[in-house]
């Protein structure tokens, strides 16, 4: 396993954990999450849930990973189509850019 793959797995696991935290607050604790899971259709996340997720991500990785900026760059159809894998890609890329 290369370093990149390893860190990608770690990032996925952390993001899945954060999503479970967000969902648990809503009384959901039994959801399957993989990279193809859609935020809108599968997880039924609303914009206010994304705000919570943004806070968790910034708590974990700090300045270099700015989900608010990531979302700000998405148009409506991109937001609707957003999948967990897209967020993993973004975090991995942002961490690599930050030398992390």
């Amino acid at each position: 396993m290369t370093t990149t793959e390893a860190s990608r797995d770690v990032v996925f696991a952390e993001i899945a954990g954060m999503l479970r935290t967000v969902l648990a607050e809503l009384g959901v604790d039994d959801v399957e999450i993989d990279e193809g899971t859609s935020f809108n259709e599968d997880l039924e996340l609303e914009s206010i849930d994304l705000v919570t997720l943004t806070a968790l991500i910034s708590e974990r990785w700090g300045e270099p990973v700015n989900l608010a900026e990531f979302l700000a760059d998405k148009d409506l159809d991109e937001v609707i189509a957003l999948k967990v894998g897209d967020l993993v890609d973004f975090v991995v890329t942002a961490l690599a850019r930050a030398g992390g």
Partner: protein
């Protein structure tokens, strides 16, 4: 005395709060006319209600039905592109004809009946926004500029087709003022010219009889008037959850009659008997429940509901669960937890009681019409 034209979308939840305001205006000697109600909704109004323009039958808007499975941003896209914008395009001619006939001194325009805002700005008539739900006040798209730009484009298109080329305000927020049927205690701090009047709950005629009550505190489960198709699974889960709560009597409302035979309840009469209300976080059900100081379990489905649900949670007046995914055990735990939120619910109840409701809204509107300058072109 003044004439007020109320411009509403064909949606029960948006019409109901304005009916009480119209009644107060009429009691004070003003005239009120309506544009927007469809024939199917005429029963909401008293028999003397003036529907305009009066030379034709009530409209039947041809609007695409929204697929019940749509959620979140997909639902937002459908709401605006397939419903609100076409509705505005269709309603403009009706509003113009109503203004020609009725010559209103001011318009009250629902936030989802944009035709009223377009005609008012083009013909330079004072108008207020009616925010029957408070979600838009919080500018939910502020963090997503590209999504906000999509909506701005739709609104700009409407203005280009029907409005005033010189106007610059957001069509959803009248520069004269926005009547919000909630309170800052529930909504939280907001920007802009917002007049919080609290809920306008009219003692609407309701011939439905109460379900048989056995004296135990009631847990009412209701998904409102607009969500029957999507609700079957949730209602079955609620029945399962309530089956193991022997200290409470569950009343599960199912307009389809598929899950229970309680198709309707007289909600206002039932609320004083309720310990908890489980609902979809529709603004009117939430406000009616909190007006009785009853805490909530909110299972938002779409539209403004997730935001209203969050307001309930932030106010300490209830618990949020996931509409599509909650299990019976989770729902039972949420109902039990909500019982401890009665104090938060009573705090909102007090804020509602002091906000003035329909009377405060009517007073504010009559001042708006009275301060109108005489030089306005009509």
């Amino acid at each position: 005395m003044s004439r007020f034209l109320f411009v509403v979308p064909p949606l029960v939840g948006h019409i109901n709060p304005t009916i009480g305001v119209a009644a107060r205006l009429k009691a004070d000697g003003h005239e009120v006319g309506w544009v927007g109600p469809t024939a199917a909704l005429a029963a909401l109004f008293d028999v003397n209600a003036a529907f305009l323009p009066s030379d034709r039958p009530l409209p039947e808007f041809q609007v695409a039905g929204r697929p019940p499975q749509l959620r979140g941003f997909a639902s937002l896209k459908f709401l605006w592109e397939e419903f609100l914008v076409p509705l505005a395009d269709t309603m403009v001619a009706l509003v113009d004809a109503a203004v020609d006939e009725f010559r209103p001194d001011a318009l009250l325009v629902d936030q989802q009946a944009l035709a009223g805002a377009l005609v008012a700005e083009r013909r330079d008539i004072p108008w207020a926004t009616s925010a029957t739900t408070s979600a838009e006040l919080l500018q939910p798209l502020a963090e997503m500029p590209k999504v906000a730009a999509w909506l701005d484009d739709l609104l700009a298109g409407l203005r280009q087709r029907h409005g005033s080329p010189t106007a610059t305000h957001d069509l959803r927020f009248s520069p004269h003022g926005v009547l919000a049927f909630s309170t800052e205690e529930l909504v939280g701090p907001v920007d802009g010219k917002i007049v919080f009047v609290g809920p306008s709950i009219n003692a609407r005629p309701d011939s439905t009889s109460l379900p048989e009550l056995d004296g135990r505190p009631v847990v009412l489960v209701s998904l409102g008037t607009a969500n029957a198709e999507a609700g079957e699974k949730f209602l079955r889960t609620a029945i399962e959850a309530l089956a193991e709560m022997p200290d409470y009597q569950g009343v599960v409302v199912d307009p389809t009659g598929e899950v229970t035979d309680v198709r309707r309840v007289p909600q206002l009469a039932l609320l004083p008997r309720c310990a908890v209300v489980v609902c979809h976080a529709g603004h009117n059900t939430v406000c009616e429940t909190l007006s009785h100081g009853v805490p909530l379990v909110v299972a938002p489905i779409r539209d403004d509901q997730p935001i209203v649900a969050q307001q309930v949670v932030d106010a300490g007046a209830g618990v949020r669960v996931r509409f599509g995914r909650v299990t019976a055990d989770q729902l039972r735990a949420a109902i039990t937890e909500a019982l401890d939120h009665a104090e938060g619910a009573r705090r909102i109840q007090r804020s509602f009681a002091s906000a003035g409701g329909a009377g405060a809204a009517a007073n504010w509107l009559s001042e708006l019409a009275a301060t109108r300058t005489s030089g306005l072109k009509r």
